[in-house]
């Protein structure tokens, strides 16, 4: 019984670590997206280009919040 509980706990910890790694990589990926959006805005700029920067920053913030939430509550 104790072994079963220990195995379940170990699985949950592994899932948590895996999730933290994936969400961290995803946050880095979104940072690359922001960099590319910024670079493309220099190539072609129009009135609504700025909005895309705000959206990508929002996505990065959401991803960072998710990473921290996973770190704290899981």
């Amino acid at each position: 019984m104790f072994e079963l509980f220990q195995n379940a706990l170990l699985t949950l910890v592994l899932i948590k670590i895996l999730f933290l790694v994936i969400s961290f990589i995803f946050t880095i990926f979104l940072l690359v997206v922001l960099k590319q959006v910024n670079s493309m805005n220099r190539v072609i700029n129009e009135a609504s280009s700025g909005l895309l920067i705000y959206i990508s920053i929002l996505l990065i913030l959401l991803s960072a919040v998710l990473f921290l939430t996973a770190l704290v509550i899981l």
Binding site: Q36, V43, A47, L52, L59, S63
Partner: protein, 223 residues
């Protein structure tokens, strides 16, 4: 004394060759485009705009003016929009199915919550990535040249331009049911010499685009 020979003093009517007439028509098209100022405000989802206001691109020369602003027709985004919609509905159906079958996921509730949140964030990322791939794939026709800006899936970025006198041939292809319904097609611009050819893929009103470019070339050739 009657005149034996009377020279014809009336001015002869200038006979225009078919080529000259076409030249004039094309010039008039170019003039119409350059003088029409209505409906030239760019919106977030604009895919076709004549003489757009507030658009700047790298290497825009002094006195150079953007005549045409083109993106892929909005309808061409349908595949990834449908995929994103299906993907966003999938967890809902999954949880409903689990409830109906009486199955329970062997994970704590907070795990499920965080995973679902992450899943939707990935879907949002997918939508955003596809959107910027469409948004930054821009073709421009200016008073001096044709510019093609390509951006694809974060890893591919290219800016190509050719001057109007270097253009040899402009043609368009409109094949399929959807292109006919929504009036979009591929415009190919062939350039002289070793310069690369341009393909404006799935742009709206391809016939009009070809006419405008031809008009600008004619105007450039006459000046």
């Amino acid at each position: 004394m009657p005149d034996i020979f009377v020279s014809n003093t009336e001015p002869e009517e200038k006979k225009e060759t078919p080529h000259g007439e076409e030249h004039k028509v094309l010039q008039s098209i170019a003039k119409t485009i350059t003088t029409d100022s209505s409906d030239n405000m760019l919106h977030f989802l604009t895919s076709y705009c004549e003489r757009p206001k507030g658009v700047f691109f790298t290497n825009l020369e002094e006195g150079e003016e953007i005549i045409l602003f083109l993106r892929r027709q909005l309808v061409t985004n349908a595949p990834w929009i449908i995929k994103a919609l299906v993907a966003s509905l999938l967890p809902i159906f999954f949880f409903i199915g689990m409830n109906l079958l009486g199955l329970v996921l062997p994970l704590p509730e907070d795990y499920i919550l965080v995973f679902t949140f992450f899943y939707y964030l990935v879907v949002l990322g997918y939508v955003f990535l596809n959107f910027i791939s469409w948004f930054y794939n821009v073709s421009l026709v200016t008073t001096a040249r044709v510019v093609d800006i390509d951006f694809s899936q974060l890893v591919y970025e290219s800016v190509a331009a050719t001057k109007l006198p270097q253009i040899e041939d402009v043609s368009y292809h409109q094949v399929g049911v959807l292109p006919s319904i929504f009036d979009y097609g591929d415009v190919s611009v062939q350039t002289a010499g070793s310069a690369s050819n341009f393909l404006f893929a799935s742009v709206p009103h391809p016939e009009k685009v070809v006419h405008i470019i031809n008009g600008l070339i004619a105007e450039k050739g006459s000046s």
